[in-house]
């Protein structure tokens, strides 16, 4: 069984055509300031279900901040975030996770006090019995599901190319492996919406292509992906839709070809058509 595609069947998955699906995420007039400076200003866009939607923009454009706002790590100063039809602005990350969001971090957030495998198992949190009493008294049902989770986590690690690190302590792994570990952990929660913040940073071209494949497989299984990445080969190759930001505002929007040809984007970000 391929773990990447083994998500629970979702009704609105529309794998057939690359027609934009119904919006899964809608950002309306979102803004966030830090000490008077707007990191995100009056930003609106939608992400269609099933799409791979990339966010690009120069350093400091506000991409990571946008992720933090969408996933509840920061509270917006203004505007709304609608996910799956509901207004989720300002909700805590764990609530959003329960609704089906998951993400990776640009600044690695690894549980360095655990093994790599356990890191991924934490990703299965929402699908396990996390009550106190069953844990204290070790209910058999809990033990069984936990060992299933272990197998599943191991398989996920294999699929993102981490089979050699399954037994390793997280604090002994090299940077590139940790980036993949975050992807495996995020996938373990079987999200509807997966947000990846520079998944290819620290990977070489060949390794990036592997990540390409992983993302494509995930998306093909109906998971919506929002991708922040400076590797233009990856972005242009796999995105259905791209939103370009600059100074916290929307600079351009459209298909990869449209955005790549946009003179503003070229001037502010690309430098030359890739």
């Amino acid at each position: 069984m391929n773990m990447l595609t083994s998500h629970e069947p979702s009704s609105d998955a529309a794998p057939t055509a690359r027609r934009p699906g119904p919006p899964l995420l809608r950002v309306e007039h979102l803004s966030r300031e830090f000490g008077g400076v707007l990191a995100i200003g009056d930003l609106s866009f939608t992400v269609a279900a099933g799409d791979i939607h990339s966010i690009i923009g120069p350093n400091g454009a506000g991409k990571t901040t946008l992720f933090n706002l969408v996933t509840g790590v920061y509270k917006p100063s203004g505007g709304r975030v609608l996910f799956d039809g509901a207004d989720v602005s300002g909700q805590a990350p764990y609530r959003l996770a329960a609704r089906g969001m998951s993400r990776t971090f640009q600044n690695l957030q690894i549980f360095f006090n655990m093994t790599a495998l356990e890191n991924v198992m934490v990703g299965r949190h929402l699908h396990l019995d996390t009550r106190l009493l069953p844990a204290l008294f070790r209910f058999p049902s809990l033990v069984r599901r936990d060992s299933e989770a272990r197998d599943r986590a191991a398989q996920l690690m294999t699929e993102v190319g981490l089979s050699r690190y399954i037994g390793a302590d997280a604090d002994s792994m090299p940077y590139g492996a940790l980036k993949r570990l975050e992807i495996a952990r995020a996938l373990a929660s079987q999200p509807k919406l997966l947000l990846l913040d520079e998944p290819a940073a620290g990977l070489n071209a060949t390794e990036s292509r592997e990540i390409d494949e992983v993302i494509k497989t995930v998306a093909a299984s109906g998971v919506t992906v929002i991708l922040v990445e400076h590797d233009m080969k990856m972005v242009m190759g796999i995105s259905d839709h791209i939103t370009a930001l600059n100074h916290g505002r929307k600079l351009a929007e459209g298909t990869p070809a449209e955005v790549a040809a946009n003179p503003d984007v070229i001037a502010a970000y690309l430098g030359a058509a890739p």
């Binding site: 990571t64 933090n68 790590v73 971090f105 640009q106 600044n107 957030q109």
Partner: protein, 291 residues
């Protein structure tokens, strides 16, 4: 009525200045290594005991204080070199336990050297109280407050204006990076211990006339200093002083208007309330780590 209030305030400020001095010591070491040094109280004790015993055997006061400072600095450097630095990779809690071990050890040694009895040190400029609108102030209080004032300014300048001070801060924020820009991180940590030991020893000497000195005097002062440093925001010099004064005044007012038994509780209730609304203390930096 007013005289009473004023009296409480004056006592509170005196005690508070003592706590502030202790708190400053915590801040310095914290600023260089993010270690909370629970042996800080023992540096104070060394200063107090040395100056009291030396003056009793005829050494002039300034020299006695100087010797006390020197001794405390040696001890501080030894603690840093043989304990804290060696366990560099250990977790913060482990380092704290090491400093607790050091404090027990130092107290034991002090007991052997100086005995268990209380030592008396004469007030620096007499004991005739100064009368202020019906309240009286010990001249020694002025010494304590003056010392705290001078030291906080000096330390503030050091950390904010000198490259060495900034290098110390940098070491605490990122030891690896500090090494990579050529900061001798070991020396920095040793220096921070020496500095805060000296500071503690001066503090011990100026407070000794008020509290007496004895080998266990550091325990309470250390605890209160830690409290002051955290309340003000760890690593923030003026914060530690403000924290110390607040704790001292809260205690004095609590003892005066509520009950002497609950005076410490009053101080801690205030601290809890502050932390509830300011999770990083009064002046502490807000988080600067991003994800």
């Amino acid at each position: 009525m007013l005289a009473e209030l004023l009296q409480y305030l004056l006592s509170g400020l005196t005690i508070g200045a003592i706590y502030a001095l202790a708190g400053l010591g915590f801040s310095i070491i914290y600023n260089a290594s993010h270690v909370i040094n629970f042996a800080q109280g023992e540096f104070i004790m060394i200063g107090g005991m040395a100056s009291a015993t030396l003056t009793a055997s005829g050494v002039p006061l300034p020299l006695a204080i100087l010797i006390g400072c020197g001794g405390a600095m040696l001890v501080g450097v030894a603690v840093a070199k043989f304990a804290v630095e060696r366990a560099r990779k250990a977790s913060t809690v482990t380092l704290i336990i090491i400093t607790i071990g050091a404090s027990i050890f130092l107290r034991g040694v002090a007991e052997l050297v100086w005995g268990k009895d209380f030592k008396r040190l004469d007030a620096f400029s007499g004991e005739t109280p100064i009368q202020l609108f019906g309240a009286s102030l010990q001249p020694q209080s002025l010494w304590v407050m003056g010392c705290a004032g001078v030291l906080i300014v000096a330390i503030g300048l050091f950390f904010n204006k000198t490259l060495t001070g900034k290098a110390m801060l940098a070491t605490s924020h990122n030891r690896l990076a500090a090494q990579l820009v050529g900061i001798d991180v070991k020396r920095v940590v040793l220096a921070s211990f020496a500095l805060s030991a000296a500071l503690g020893a001066v503090g011990g000497a100026v407070v000794a006339p008020i509290t007496f000195s004895y080998t266990e005097m550091g325990i309470m002062l250390g605890l209160k200093g830690f409290t002051a440093a955290v309340l003000g925001g760890l690593g923030h010099g003026p914060g530690a002083v403000a924290g110390g004064l607040i704790v001292g005044v809260a205690e004095a007012l609590g003892a005066g208007y509520l009950s002497s038994a609950y005076k410490d509780a009053v101080a801690f209730v205030i601290i809890l309330a502050v932390l509830l609304f300011m999770p990083n203390g009064l002046f502490g930096k807000r988080g600067t780590e991003r994800v």
